[in-house]
């Protein structure tokens, strides 16, 4: 068989049945061989390679399986770069494949040649170029293994056209062994014991669950820990959904636009157990004052994260599922032995935090005109099925979604965190729907973000991928405008978008899809219902208050205690 066939067979063996890709000269052999395997694997032809990369991310986030995107050499592959970088920042397992010029042309500025190994080295977990067809099965198998194990991440494969055409008899392996790569799964039992003791002896403990808990499929173990210990739990953005946000001990998200109860807990806690979280600057604010009064127990599968941003009292290296399971067993034992039916040291704290979590709940049912963005989230929350998925673009609309949506399960909230990539919303939703065709998939988007990748409406139409983009139209690049209002006295520069252009409903109709324009709060519920009833992708364009601000907010590199706005009584006064 030739190299491209070996590539496809390896992908199939690894469980891939859908890819997102766009052809070109240097991918002709590969897509030619796709025609032989139509019963086993299908490519979804996108309209821009960036759409393919984000769709692969959305697919991976929703399913837990590696997403695959394919592009031709040169500009095709470079169009994948933003999505690859996004996947690296948020630890999303994707395989990005780029066609490449023939090996003897490499390095000669050939037509559509680009040094993708050089370009993607800083933004991938690993990358390699395959120059020999016989190496395709082991290297592609290695790529899958790397992308989905340990700390997940993107792997880029450069595939020269002559390698695709070369004949090989190589076997397709089941798995590979990588000498230098052995992520630690089980944590040291002494460290687990110390963690258990520290938490039980704390007066104001909290758990901070990050995206790693979801990557490790550890939501069940986290819930068990919370039920057993009654320790309140907050999440980072990527951890949203790791715990049911309607649980009485769920504090919601921490950080720059986080819920005040979660940030309050971060300030007051004496022992914080952070798991699968990397302490991004969006959640710590000023590192000099972050968690000043707190002993941090940091658990992560990647030892390089521990001690990178914050000083740590105790390091627990291991896979989140294994760590949480071990911790539950250990804590059960201590609770029975040492508490023996008495209440914990921190029962007052738990009671207080439950009370605050209840109070920290804005009523989003606001009927004002122009539309308050909270109203849209309120109407979505009402209709969200337990397993329904919400993807978002990047900007104010994203922060409204992040702050006010209540997600109940992992893999239901897909939002670009570390990279903050505008335009990721629609293709994320597209990929998620391909992975989970039986749930509703919403895309909370902005007029700025949506325009960056709206050509993927064409992909949604052609492949019957039903998504529901809800565009918060405020005629501004809202988040930047907010910063200019709050920190630069409204010295607006480069943040205005035209009031009538484009008409997003006409854009939907140009793709033979339907859309609904909404200008009043009372129309929103019905609009969403119509979108849900539509069998195809349905675009909602909702005019919202142009200069609304998403608050509360931490000033950039600010101290957590200086958060302001929203329902905070006054800056720094949490309750």
């Amino acid at each position: 068989m030739r190299g491209s066939e070996a590539f496809i067979k390896t992908m199939i063996k690894q469980g891939t049945d859908k890819t997102f890709g766009y052809p070109g000269g240097k991918l002709i052999p590969l897509f030619d061989d796709y025609l032989e395997f139509e019963d086993k694997i299908n490519n979804i032809l996108v309209r821009h390679e960036q759409g393919a990369a984000h769709a692969a991310e959305g697919y991976a986030k929703a399913s837990g399986k590696p997403g695959v995107c394919l592009a031709t050499s040169g500009p095709g592959a470079t169009n994948l770069v933003t999505g690859i970088m996004d996947a690296q920042m948020d630890n999303i397992p994707i395989i990005a494949v780029g066609g490449q010029v023939a090996t003897k042309q490499i390095g000669n500025d050939a037509f559509q040649e680009s040094d993708m190994i050089g370009v993607t080295a800083p933004i991938t977990k690993h990358n390699f170029q395959i120059r020999n067809a016989g190496e395709i099965p082991p290297k592609v198998t290695k790529a899958y293994h790397l992308c989905r194990t340990g700390r997940p991440g993107p792997v880029y494969i450069d595939l020269p056209s002559d390698t695709q055409m070369q004949e090989t008899n190589a076997d397709i392996p089941e798995k590979v062994n990588i000498v230098s790569y052995n992520p630690q799964i089980k944590a040291n039992p002494d460290v687990i014991a110390k963690t258990a003791k520290m938490l039980l002896n704390a007066e104001r403990p909290m758990i901070l669950a990050g995206g790693g808990v979801i990557c490790a499929e550890a939501a069940k173990e986290l819930a068990e820990l919370v039920e057993l210990t009654k320790i309140p739990v907050a999440t980072s953005m990527q951890g949203k959904g790791a715990i049911d946000e309607r649980h009485p001990l769920s504090l919601g998200m921490v950080g720059m636009h986080g819920r005040k109860v979660a940030n309050y807990a971060s300030i007051e806690t004496d022992v914080m157990f952070a798991i699968g979280c990397r302490f991004s600057d969006r959640i710590t604010g000023n590192l000099d004052t972050y968690a000043e009064k707190t002993k941090i127990i940091h658990s992560d599968v990647d030892p390089a994260e521990i001690g990178k941003n914050v000083d740590v009292e105790l390091a627990v290296v291991g896979d989140a599922k294994s760590v949480l399971a071990d911790l539950v067993i250990t804590m059960k034992h201590y609770i029975e032995k040492e508490l023996a039916g008495n209440s914990s040291n921190y029962s007052e704290w738990t009671k207080k935090m439950k009370q605050y979590a209840k109070e920290c709940n804005c009523n989003g049912d606001i009927d004002s005109h122009p539309v308050n963005p909270k109203k849209i989230i309120h109407e979505v929350n009402k209709r969200l099925g337990e397993k329904d998925i919400v993807a978002t673009g990047v900007g104010q609309h994203q922060m409204y979604a992040m702050h006010f949506l209540r997600m109940r399960h992992p893999r239901t909230f897909i939002s670009s965190g570390g990279a903050g990539t505008m335009g990721s919303g629609l293709p994320f939703a597209m990929g998620a729907k391909v992975a989970k065709p039986d749930v509703n998939v919403f895309d909370i988007d902005g007029d700025g973000s949506f325009q960056m990748t709206m050509q993927e409406l064409g992909t949604c139409k052609e492949h019957n991928i039903k998504t529901m983009p809800i565009i918060f139209r405020n005629n501004y690049l809202g988040m930047v405008r907010q910063w200019l209002e709050l920190f630069k006295d409204k010295r607006y520069s480069q943040v205005n978008l035209p009031k009538k252009d484009p008409d997003f409903i006409k854009i939907a109709e140009a793709y033979n899809l339907k859309g609904t324009k909404i200008a009043r709060a009372s129309e929103i519920g019905e609009g969403i219902d119509n979108a849900m009833k539509d069998e195809e992708t349905h675009v909602l364009e909702i005019d919202v208050e142009e200069e609304s601000n998403i608050l509360p907010m931490l000033p950039p590199a600010g101290n957590l205690k200086d958060a302001f706005g929203g329902c905070m009584k006054s800056p720094g006064k949490y309750f």
Partner: protein
């Protein structure tokens, strides 16, 4: 407090590995003083020795981040007290007259350097020693006209 640290790593001899390692240092803002790269006793392995100037926190991050690179097999610090550190230096000087050449050779011999070549207008010395001793040798030759210096950077091994 920033100190000089010597990091020795074994990497797989794959295309682009050196670029990946130095790229990592560049984007994480780790300051490279010198780099040496060469073969080891294992054919598919390459040894890279990097001298960095960093405090202890940064050093820990350097080791951990390097370990994350899939092509990197092993990373360790070579503690200056335990490791034998060596560097090669080629020093080119202007040749004036026999008397001066003679004094140069005397100084060289004291430092453990040797004259390895000479042309019409230049003399070439080679010294292989610790970086400090090389610095001393260069200082002692400054009174003559130094035309060019080429230093290899540091490599090292522990042999106790």
């Amino acid at each position: 407090m920033k100190h000089i640290h010597i990091i020795s790593m074994i990497v797989e001899d794959n295309p682009g590995v050196l670029a990946k390692v130095t790229g990592l240092f560049a984007r994480r803002n780790f300051n490279i003083d010198t780099v040496t790269v060469g073969k080891t006793d294992v054919e598919s392995h390459t040894k890279i020795v990097i001298v960095v100037s960093a405090n202890n926190n940064i050093l820990e991050q350097i080791e951990k981040q390097c370990n994350k690179l899939i092509d990197v097999l092993e990373v360790k610090e070579l503690p200056k007290e335990d490791a034998t550190i060596s560097e090669l230096c080629l020093l080119k000087l202007e040749k004036k007259d026999d008397a001066e050449t003679g004094s140069m050779k005397e100084i060289a011999e004291e430092s453990g350097a040797r004259m390895i070549d000479s042309g019409e207008d230049c003399i070439l010395f080679e010294i292989s020693s610790t970086p400090d001793k090389i610095n001393e040798f260069i200082s002692s030759m400054k009174k003559y006209n130094i035309l060019d210096i080429s230093r290899s950077g540091v490599t090292g091994i522990i042999c106790k």
